[in-house]
Symmetry: C2
Subunit: 206 residues, 2 copies
């Protein structure tokens, strides 16, 4: 098994935290996203989606999305489960991961990729070159400041996002908050439950 | 357990096909999305995300995202698995579901919600009112016509999206192709593998 990755970017960080927490060590090769190596013919021969990270299994099959890699790895390395302990927690983990992906994460990506000078004509990840849409920056900001208080409310009533255990949902939120730093948008001070969770969550992956 | 749903919409259709295939019957209440009942105080007291469908568990806890509902239901009703038979297939199911959600589905939604007269100021699902961005229609079209040929390529080499079995990934693609009809964008005729898959997949859920 082999991971192609580039630790600086958000999606690789999700996978790295998942693996480190569970104590999984795999053969790793760096794809230099800073120089757009993910768009090279050599990498696209491995992962046609041209996204990073990807996981190549022993039989050569490729899993290209982090959530799929985590599902596979949790099956093979069940210790220290990060995808839920029982049916209800499992349901909530996947629900929260999807909600984060489709909400806070998409909002941050909208701001970052439609505003950054380095991403002109690279408004979405993957091989498709698309122009930036400046109005998406405002939409992204609205999504971010809609979702952050809802996360604060959730973390007022629950130690971890999906319930009683630290899970991939928390890893995804940690990653999203790191990604917020890329657009210089701090978590508002008044979201005290989210700030308290951040301290707890960082200790889990330290 | 109880499902709040509105069968005409894409996300409720995913859940309905998943349940029907597995023979799961649950107490159901319709939320009249045609009249924006999902935004009512009464529904938001049940599901603060104001999205449809949602699944209320016996202990009152709510799962608000379809992928989470499917994970929960597969645990409780394991017969006729739709989330994969082994580690590799499970990984691929979640990978494909995410790729569809973040790719083809998002593309169609971008066209539909940023162009339809009925969605002025309702450019995203959920409680946040956001103005349409006409440029997102063009971006969405580019995403659609980028992803459809890739799906055709995948289905040239594989009977089903995630491997040897019909899974939620196929249900999600069926739903996405139905959603394509909403924006009057047919699957191009030359994508013959995708068309052949469509016949197979429709037979599975008939």
């Amino acid at each position: 098994m082999k991971v192609y990755t580039f630790e600086g970017a958000p999606n690789p960080q999700r996978l790295a935290m998942f693996m480190r927490y569970k104590g999984i060590e795999l053969n790793t090769e760096v794809v230099d996203m800073a120089n757009r190596e993910q768009l090279s013919d050599a990498y696209r021969a491995i992962n046609p989606d041209a996204t990073v990270p990807c996981l190549v299994l022993d039989d050569g099959e490729v899993i290209s999305q982090v959530i799929g890699m985590c599902v596979y790895l949790e099956e093979v390395f069940p210790d220290k489960p990060l995808l839920g302990h029982d049916a209800k927690e499992k349901g909530q983990v996947f629900s929260w991961c999807h909600k984060l992906s489709n909400g806070l994460f998409l909002g941050i990506a909208s701001v970052f990729r439609n505003r950054s000078k380095g991403f002109v004509d690279r408004a979405l990840p993957g091989p498709l070159d698309l122009p930036q849409i400046p109005a998406m920056v405002e939409r992204g900001m609205a999504q971010i400041h809609h979702h952050l208080p809802l996360l604060d409310e959730r973390l007022a009533e629950s130690t971890w996002l999906a319930g009683e255990h630290f899970t991939l949902a928390d890893i995804d939120l940690l990653t999203a908050i790191g990604f917020l730093g890329w657009i210089k948008e701090p978590v508002p001070e008044e979201l005290t439950h989210l700030h308290a969770w951040l301290v707890r969550a960082q200790a889990e992956v330290a």
